[in-house]
């Protein structure tokens, strides 16, 4: 339910604008939180199974409902969640206690806010901002503050390393991400996400859907640069140097255990959802079906969006289990010397293309 519809419905009940606004925000925040939690549970299960299948093993398995971990191990994530909740809450003695406790929630806020603008279907979106794309990119930077806080407050050299590297990485990779997402904005002429998706309706040559990725070669390359920068934004391999397991134990998350770690985890997967959602909306046609004209109404929109999102998240997991990780200076080299020139050249090319071909 979008916040606007809720407020309109409250107006029919009576005239209390401030209270109705607050109620509408809270009521639409609850399904968002549920989406976040559900996404984390399913994504963790899928990640473990996918990684296992790629490594010739089976991952978490069970023999039936109620025994061990359920058939095919579906109850494993639920068991993990319960374990994390009942774990002992350790706060290091020499750490900065206030910052230590605040840090997970700041990262959580960054991911949660971004989720508010992701269009799950033509009607299912919490708020339809006029500047949706800009809002998501802006809000995505809040997470850095939390990461640096976590690294500093742990009073641990390993965490500090991880936090510093992560800060440099996320700030640098915002630039190619922003430059790549300019291409759909240039072509559609608007920052509003729903209008961006509506621009991609119809078809090209009758069979190919009119998605921005198929429009011209420059936007095809732009999709890949956006995707690579998105993977770097979320600290996933091959860019997971901040939480590099074999070098820094667990990087900036070393001192966190139990529920606080669960909050980090939740926000990492929510971040993946947000950037994949933006990629799908900007380049792959959002909730529109790949067969132009058919299956485009109502709940089908949700189905197409979820499947495209699922595919992109699967590709992110595929990357993680196949490639080794980059060293910090090589990461910076890729960002500043390879991705940024390519994206700038792309913008130039799309501009010329639109001028010539209209």
């Amino acid at each position: 339910m979008t916040v606007d519809t809720l407020i309109n419905w409250f107006v029919t009940l009576g005239d209390f604008p401030v209270l109705s606004f607050l109620l509408a925000v809270v009521i639409s925040g609850i399904p968002l939180f549920l989406v976040m939690a559900l996404n984390a549970m399913i994504a963790v299960y899928v990640e473990r199974k996918v990684s296992a299948f790629m490594m010739d093993r089976v991952g978490p398995m069970g023999q039936g409902p109620g025994l061990h971990a359920g058939k095919w191990g579906v109850l494993q994530t639920a068991a993990d969640a319960i374990k994390l909740l009942v774990k002992e809450d350790t706060v290091p003695e020499t750490s900065d206690k206030f910052l230590f406790k605040m840090a997970p929630y700041i990262i959580f806020i960054g991911a949660f806010l971004g989720l508010a603008a992701v269009p799950f279907s033509s009607t299912l979106q919490v708020v339809d901002f006029n500047v949706g794309v800009f809002y998501i990119i802006a809000v995505g930077s809040i997470g850095i503050v939390g990461i640096v806080m976590a690294g500093w407050a742990s009073n641990n050299k390993w965490s500090l390393y991880g936090a510093m590297r992560s800060a440099a990485q996320i700030i640098s990779y915002e630039i190619p991400a922003g430059l790549s997402i300019i291409i759909p904005i240039m072509m559609a002429g608007t920052l509003n996400i729903q209008e961006l998706i509506a621009f991609q309706s119809g078809s090209v040559w009758g069979i190919l859907p009119n998605w921005i990725i198929f429009n011209n070669p420059f936007s095809f390359v732009a999709f890949f640069t956006f995707f690579i920068s998105a993977v770097a934004e979320t600290n996933r391999t091959p860019f997971d140097i901040p939480e590099a397991e074999s070098e820094l134990v667990a990087g900036w998350m070393t001192e966190y255990s139990g529920f606080r770690w669960a909050v980090f985890f939740l926000s990492e997967y929510a971040n993946m959802l947000v950037v994949s959602g933006l990629a799908v909306a900007g380049f792959l046609g959002g909730w529109q079906s790949p067969i132009p004209g058919l299956f485009n109404t109502g709940l089908w929109g949700l189905f197409w969006f979820m499947s495209k999102l699922g595919f992109l998240i699967f590709v992110m997991m595929w990357f993680r289990w196949t490639f080794p990780r980059l060293r910090v200076d090589q990461l910076m080299h890729v960002c500043w010397k390879v991705l940024i020139p390519i994206t700038m050249f792309n913008i130039f090319g799309v501009g010329i293309w639109k001028l010539i071909f209209g």
């Binding site: 091959p238 080794p324 060293r327």
Partner: protein
């Protein structure tokens, strides 16, 4: 209060760490990311191997030698047994020599597979580790079929081996080799030629040939720096002279000569050479009685012997002093990984912490051998 250097940080890659290969403590002085000095602290795995061997008889030392280099324990047994047979002047039957070479080379493949897989894990690639371990399991299954144990065998005895090969061992081993050779291509496609891996390891941690020789580094680490030295060819023992195989050396394939990628690549090539030796040995193995030359009572004459053999990590040497009793007077093991670790400080000056992990992984150390 002493002088505090404002920009120097002492970082402890401690005994418990996911990628030091065993319990090793490295005290690293860095300024931010660039390393200026490393001090390794050893001794967390010291189990008094040499002191134990002064209190047990000669054949009871063999389970202890297994546990020093636990990833290549057939080769550790081999080294000890060859040294003892030189001291006691025992000539073992031909079949025993062939069996020992087969087991030694199979264990060399297993140890190299583990070293390469764990190196991939240090660099961040999780999947090749599992593939290599899956193939190593098949080698361990073959060992289990022959002598019952999977990791610590106690197989090579003074004067022979403990059990003869089972009847269908030749077929099983040849089937394994036929299955395994195409897998090497898969490993290369997945990890060795991967651009990210090459960028991480090429030109990193170069050990020039003269530095390597002056520190006493041996084995694949030395061969990767360009020096063609292998104990199997230069001071041959057992029946290695009968086999036709080359010694792969580093060529600076993707970077400079003697960098981490060369050490990785030399080990990959050595696996191929071991497969060659195995195929020749399996074809030519004669029949015979393996327990023929086992001495009734092991009482070597007074004297001492030092003999080197080639283990997957380098030059493994045993110095045995006997005084005529069934209990040795002194057994000393010269460990190749110890000298490899000693050159870590010089090689990693000026590199970053991620590179220190990469260099440590490429040296392929086993703490059991270093600390004994």
């Amino acid at each position: 209060m002493g002088v505090v250097q404002g920009d120097q940080m002492i970082l402890n890659i401690g005994p418990q760490h996911p990628s030091t290969h065993g319990v090793l403590r490295l005290e690293v002085m860095t300024d931010g990311e660039i390393v200026s000095q490393i001090r390794p602290h050893l001794g967390y795995l010291h189990r008094c191997f040499e002191k134990h061997s002064e209190n047990v008889t000669y054949e009871q030392v063999i389970p202890f030698t297994d546990r020093c280099d636990y990833l290549a324990s057939m080769n550790s047994n081999f080294g000890y047994v060859v040294a003892m047979e030189e001291l006691m002047e025992i000539k073992v039957p031909e079949r025993v020599e062939y069996i020992r070479v087969i087991m030694g080379e199979l264990n060399r493949i297993g140890s190299h597979l583990l070293a390469l897989g764990v190196y991939g894990l240090d660099i961040g690639a999780f999947t090749p580790f599992l593939y290599m371990l899956r193939d190593r399991e098949r080698i361990l299954d073959m060992f289990e079929y022959t002598c019952g144990a999977r990791l610590l065998y106690n197989y090579m005895w003074i004067g022979g081996v403990s059990h003869d090969l089972p009847k269908d061992f030749e077929t099983i081993c040849t089937d394994f080799l036929d299955y395994f050779e195409p897998q090497i291509k898969e490993y290369n496609n997945l990890l060795s030629f991967n651009k990210i891996f090459v960028e991480r390891t090429a030109d990193v941690g170069v050990i020039p040939a003269d530095v390597a020789v002056s520190y006493g580094v041996t084995g694949p680490n030395l061969r990767a720096s360009g020096v063609k030295w292998d104990v199997r060819k230069d001071e041959p023992y057992s029946i290695y002279e009968k086999f036709d195989f080359d010694i792969p050396t580093g060529t600076g394939k993707f970077g400079t000569l003697g960098d981490c990628y060369d050490r990785y690549w030399v080990r990959m090539l050595e696996i191929k050479e071991s497969i060659k030796i195995l195929r020749q040995a399996l074809k030519e193995i004669p029949s015979g009685d393996v327990h023929q030359a086992l001495p009734k009572k092991i009482r070597p004459p007074k004297g001492s012997v030092y003999r080197r053999t080639e283990s997957p990590r380098g030059d493994l040497g045993y110095y045995i002093v006997s005084d005529g009793t069934p209990v040795p007077f002194r057994v000393k093991m010269r460990s190749p990984a110890f000298t490899a670790l000693s050159c870590l400080d010089e090689v990693s000056r000026g590199w970053m912490i991620s590179d220190v992990i990469a260099i440590l992984g490429s040296l392929d150390i086993v703490l059991g051998e270093i600390d004994r």
